[in-house]
Amino acid sequence: MRPWEWAFPPRGEHLEVIAAQPATDHGHPPILFVPGLGHGAWCYAEHWLGATAERGYPAYAMSFRGHGGSGGHTRLGRATTRTYLHDLMQVIASLPAPPVLVAHSMAALPARLALARYPAPAGVLLAPVPAGGLRQSLTNQFRRRPAATMRTLVGGTAEFTAVDLFADLDAATAARHLSRLGRESPLAQYELMVPHRIEPIDSPVLVVGAEADRVLAPADLDRAAAELHTSAVMVPGGHDMMLDRSWGEVLTTVLDWIDLHGTAAGAALPGATKLPPVAQALEGRPP
């Protein structure tokens, strides 16, 4: 049961959704891109949205409340994973058909909760935090930048430099992206460090790891994959793989997998593909 969800529903906020539609409808399911800590829909709008639409998928990117172009910046401090799940479900329910979810980093937590309750065709988790809580990543971070890590522990937003997020990006572009990073809810950050209930997921899930990830430690990546009974597919680039120079290769890996696993049923639920609708079966009969 989920009485907390019934008893304390988050208040609604305006949620930013950026869309890119394919030139022709291939019957593919939509793909919803979900950004990570401090990020907004902009990080997908940079390259991936357009490229995904070109591959024939209706592409959507959202921002959580208090992020990017969404509302609720002043009330961000109250947001938790459950709040982000609410936002994610709001966007999912606004789409014309069940979307493939592609979630990055911290967004893996609400995305996994959504996949557990919602019959998405498939899910892709990019550099996902484990539901069991970050361990090695935290230690690494503390070693490299103890002061910044301490600030995070007392409620500051996790601080990222170009070196953290990008393996191979010119300084100007990296700086432009970094400047768009926003604040993160301290509560949601704390939740990264504690274990979460793991709910069973029926949809096929791909876990993607970045070879030069300086934020998510390999050990934590592996734990996240193991929680999902799979292992991570490694791609070139840094933690922000949708912005790094190798974004195209990564997207190709993701979309190739979705071609294979997410579109077996087209945009329809699997049962619908096994037998044409009854109206067709009765065609030709008197109405």
């Binding site: 019934w6 208040r11 609604g12 709910e199 049962g271 096994k274 079966a281 109405p287």
Partner: protein, 477 residues
């Protein structure tokens, strides 16, 4: 629409191999159909109306909503957990909001195109065929008639889910002298808008949610409004502590407080908000909270306090011009509205024994499972103390999970089905002792019922897909 002796020519039967027939396109029907599809099971749906929504399709043949209908439970629990209502919806959406919501749900999940609308199911019977169903039990012949008077067609399915609702066939009480009453008599089933009340002297009979709703509407539109109730109920406000009151009640549940403490706290809150019932000429409720189906109406007492509703007790007799009550008082009215509830009807079933129908009421495992056939299920025969569609979703998931398992492991499924059927008659009352059991035959405490579904779902899921050792999985309904 008797089904007895209907000829059953195997010729001309449209075969729907491996598929499930879903009867009804209300919230229970569309969620059942969607869960089946999501579990890879093909399904067809049928509904008499020209679109989805069931009761919420205002103006449709079996719709019982009226122009002013709003939800009496707030969004969070009422909505499907995998398809929330938009944040732009108010706490208590109107029936227009609700229909749009169901239409969007059906479109989103591709459920609408699986339905035949304007189609009546006239007969459902176990098929006289040599092959059994893919899900165990016999196959099922479903005879339909399209557009009211068209020719009948029979289709053959591997399973049937009944989701035809139990709140559409009017139950009308008998009172001495009612036949001599010269004014109009209406069942709430036929109440559609306040136009029917304007300029009239109205007696509303019945203290259910509909009766209270109509009394409040009458207070604002009729020349006089009398509200007759047989016993004294709790009238719960829609808002408490500045939030929808069902959310406040679920806070107490979330805190895992025992029923006595919840009852005490809720009583206290009620006292602070509503106060002493006798101040308003009402009797004090003769039972504890949670012991009757919650009536949610914030304005009934408000309008009594404004002199626009006169509360009365039980009606004793009617005469040509009005009614006399048990206390001897008499009133003149020209319209009587019986908001006295509905009866469950399954006229299309060739053999009522498949639902163990006695006294007009099915007797089912988990209030869902046919005692005789593992491939005949009923969704929606519940009256929860909270929103309905979260439960519709988990009933749908339970049916789909069960049929999935039944298709792959009939033995295991059979054992689980036996367990479910064995528990028939269990009351999911959350520890309360329901009063007036006729009225509360389908009543469930949402948390209690969901926990039962959660347990069955976990069993079904574990049987289908055993998880690696050492992994903790928390299935939550």
């Amino acid at each position: 629409m008797t089904a007895a002796g209907r000829p059953n020519p195997n010729d001309g039967i449209v075969d729907r191999p491996g598929a499930v027939a879903v009867i009804g396109a209300g919230p229970h029907g569309i969620s059942a159909l969607k869960s089946l599809l999501a579990h890879g099971i093909p399904a067809d749906g049928f509904d008499r109306a020209d679109g989805v929504g069931g009761n919420w399709r205002f103006g449709a043949p079996t719709s019982r909503v009226y122009e002013s209908t709003h939800l009496i439970s707030s969004k969070p629990f009422t909505q499907f957990p995998d398809f929330p209502m938009p944040d732009s919806y108010p706490d208590y959406p109107s029936h227009r909001h609700v229909l749009t919501y169901f239409e969007r749900y059906a479109q989103h999940f591709g459920v609408g195109e699986r339905y035949l609308f304007d189609t009546e199911v006239v007969d459902v019977r176990a098929a006289d065929s040599t092959t059994g169903s893919a899900f165990g039990g016999p196959r099922w012949d479903v005879t339909i008639r399209r557009s009211g008077t068209g020719p009948e067609v029979t289709l053959r399915y591997d399973a049937v889910v009944l989701a035809n609702g139990h709140n559409w066939f009017p139950k009308t009480p008998h009172y001495p002298g009612l036949e001599s009453f010269a004014g109009e008599v209406l069942h709430s089933a036929d109440y559609k808008s306040a136009d029917q009340l304007r300029g009239r002297r109205v007696l509303v009979v019945g203290a259910g949610n509909t009766g209270c709703d109509i009394a409040v509407e009458s207070a604002q539109n009729a020349d006089a409004t009398y509200h007759s109730t047989r016993r004294a109920y709790w009238y719960n406000p829609k808002y408490a502590l500045g939030r929808p009151s069902d959310q406040v009640a679920d806070r107490l549940l979330a805190l895992r407080l025992p029923i006595r403490v919840r009852r005490g706290l809720y009583s206290l809150m009620h006292k602070a908000i509503v106060g002493d019932y006798t101040r308003y000429g009402l009797r004090h409720p003769d039972h504890a909270f949670y012991e009757t189906h919650p009536v949610v109406n914030q304005n009934l007492i408000y309008y009594i306090g404004h002199g626009d509703i006169e509360p009365r007790g039980d009606v004793d007799t009617f005469d040509a011009d009005g009614a006399t009550f048990a206390d001897g008082s008499r009133i003149d009215v020209d319209l009587v509205i019986f908001a006295t509830g509905y009866l469950a009807r399954f006229d299309f079933l060739a053999d009522p024994a498949v639902l163990d129908i006695r006294d007009g009421k099915p007797h089912l495992g988990l209030q869902m499972a046919s005692p005789t056939h593992p491939n005949l299920w009923l969704s929606g025969l519940i009256q929860p103390d909270s929103g309905q569609w979260a439960i519709a979703h988990w009933q749908a998931e339970t049916i789909a999970e069960f049929l999935s398992l039944a298709a792959h492991d009939p033995t295991r499924a059979g054992a689980i089905h036996r367990d479910i059927v064995q528990a028939t008659g269990h009351r999911f009352s959350g520890g309360a002792d329901y009063k007036d059991s006729t009225r509360h035959y389908y009543e469930i405490a949402h948390q209690d019922y969901l926990l039962a579904l959660q347990e069955v779902l976990a069993t079904l899921r574990g049987a289908r897909d055993p998880l690696p050792r050492g992994t903790t999985v928390g299935l939550r309904v």
